[in-house]
């Protein structure tokens, strides 16, 4: 079975600090994988290595058989096939929600204006923000902005969407609306790689949970198995801290 995403032996260092020390895994079409781990362990860096926003020092990444890390690859074309949702949303502040979603299809996929607008409207409606099409980012709440940014990623019909702590910058009451969109996406069969602390989300839709610490994958497996009976002591330690922090109740509630 052809893999959508293959990551092999990724290394990345910032100056003297080695952040990624050899990460390898693969994803099939429709997989939803959640990466968890302590802050600063390179999870975000990993995502940025995948679409070469931060080129890896060593290692390779393949998207549906095409090598992203190859120096001769058309990186813009490849990036167009990978969606990226940022922790800080990064909506284009001078454009309305509709234009935020339609600009890339117009400029990168060379869609005609009318077509792109129609597509953008559809995507906005899918995330529940059809009525906010003419609003500017500054007029939207954090949760709404993040949903627009998901719509923006979806409008490019990506093969894979990367989520970099999508809910970490949101007020607690706004997290739910974003997670709902993400859960629906996963159920619809989108291939998603999510870095997040939201254990509830991982539990309900993840096909696999990957625990990263200090630049390496410590353990990976289906959520039920990893959360219930983690094999590695470090995993257990981390999960313990998280449940203490977030509280059992909240985890169950999600």
């Amino acid at each position: 079975m052809a893999l959508t995403l293959v990551i092999e032996d990724i290394h990345k260092a910032y100056g003297n600090l080695e952040v990624l020390k050899g990460i390898s895994f693969g994803m099939q079409k429709g997989d939803t994988k959640v990466v968890i781990g302590p802050s600063g362990t390179g999870k975000s860096t990993l995502l940025r290595c995948i679409n070469r926003l931060s080129p890896p020092d060593k290692g390779q990444v393949w998207l549906e058989g095409e090598e992203i890390t190859h120096s001769k690859s058309n990186i813009n074309q490849l990036r167009a096939k990978i969606g990226f949702v940022f922790q800080d949303f990064n909506l284009f502040s001078h454009l309305t929600a509709l234009k935020n979603v339609s600009i890339a299809p117009m400029k990168v996929m060379r869609m005609k204006k009318k077509e792109a607008a129609k597509l953008a409207m559809e995507e906005l409606e899918k995330v529940g923000l059809g009525d906010k099409a003419d609003a500017y980012p500054a007029q939207l709440s954090g949760g709404q902005q993040q949903r627009v940014s998901i719509a923006r990623a979806l409008a490019m019909s990506p093969k894979l969407i990367l989520f970099d702590e999508p809910t970490s910058a949101l007020d607690p009451e706004l997290i739910g609306e974003v997670l709902e969109v993400m859960i629906n996406l996963a159920k619809d069969g989108m291939t998603m790689l999510v870095v997040s602390h939201e254990m509830g989300f991982a539990r309900s839709v993840a096909d696999e949970v990957i625990f990263m610490e200090q630049g390496v994958i410590v353990e990976q497996g289906p959520p039920q198995q990893l959360f219930a009976s983690p094999k590695q002591p470090r995993t257990r330690e981390f999960l313990h801290k998280i449940t203490e922090l977030y509280g059992e109740e909240r985890e169950k509630g999600n």
């Binding site: 926003l53 813009n76 990036r79 909506l91 284009f92 502040s93 001078h94």
Partner: protein, 222 residues
């Protein structure tokens, strides 16, 4: 008092002719200066080392020397190497090259103050660097730069007066001419002063209206 008004009325036609030339020079140098300034700024932010060095050198040079010296250099000095310009053109070129240096710094500041995430997001969607600059960074930077750009254009309107030193028949020169023919220098310059006041006030108003028009809803005090 009434004598002054008679004098004013008599002088007005000539002074207004001069005003026309003032606005002409101002128009040219604003257009040229803004374009050049933008290019220099882009060179400093996105260019390679050579372009960066050139831009920086240009900016340092034109900001570090008086406008009048630059104008005299261009009008009187360039003929030595065969470049002869009419006073109006020389004035426009000098003023334009000068304002470009200042505007380059304003544009650079504005470009760099757009959040880094904007470029990242644009690239992550598959836009090329050029597309990102053109459709995402610049539209935001141009709005940020408006207050400084407005100040600069008002400043330039006033500095256009130094063109009289190379014989351009603009407002200041006309006032001087009236002075020479009537010996009422003070009165002539006073009227000219008021015309400048009117010009700068009107311009400031227009620019405020422009700023209001392009403001993005929801964003305050940028």
């Amino acid at each position: 008092m009434t004598d002054f008004f008679h004098f004013a009325r008599a002088s007005l036609p000539l002074l207004l002719k001069g005003t026309g030339v003032t606005l002409q020079i101002w128009g040219w140098c604003m257009v040229g200066g803004t374009i050049l300034g933008l290019l220099l700024a882009l060179g400093r932010v996105y260019g390679n080392r050579a372009i960066y060095a050139f831009s920086t050198g240009y900016i340092e040079l034109f900001r570090g020397t008086p406008m009048l010296v630059q104008m005299l250099f261009i009008y009187f000095g360039l003929p030595e190497i065969g470049v002869m310009l009419t006073p109006v053109i020389a004035a426009s070129v000098a003023l334009g090259m000068n304002t470009a240096a200042y505007q380059a710094e304003y544009f650079r500041g504005a470009i760099q103050s757009t959040k880094a995430g904007q470029m990242t997001a644009a690239r992550s969607l598959g836009m090329s660097k050029a597309q990102a600059i053109c459709y995402i960074i610049l539209p935001q930077a141009l709005r940020i730069v408006i207050p400084q750009w407005s100040n600069e254009s008002i400043l330039l309107l006033k500095y256009s007066s130094i063109a009289f030193a190379i014989g351009v028949p603009e407002l200041m020169a006309r006032a001087q001419m009236i002075g020479y023919s009537t010996f009422r220098f003070f009165d002539a310059f006073l009227i000219a002063a008021f015309i400048y006041l009117v010009l700068t006030t009107v311009l400031a108003q227009l620019l405020d209206m422009l700023a209001e028009k392009v403001r993005i809803p929801g964003q305050e005090g940028r």
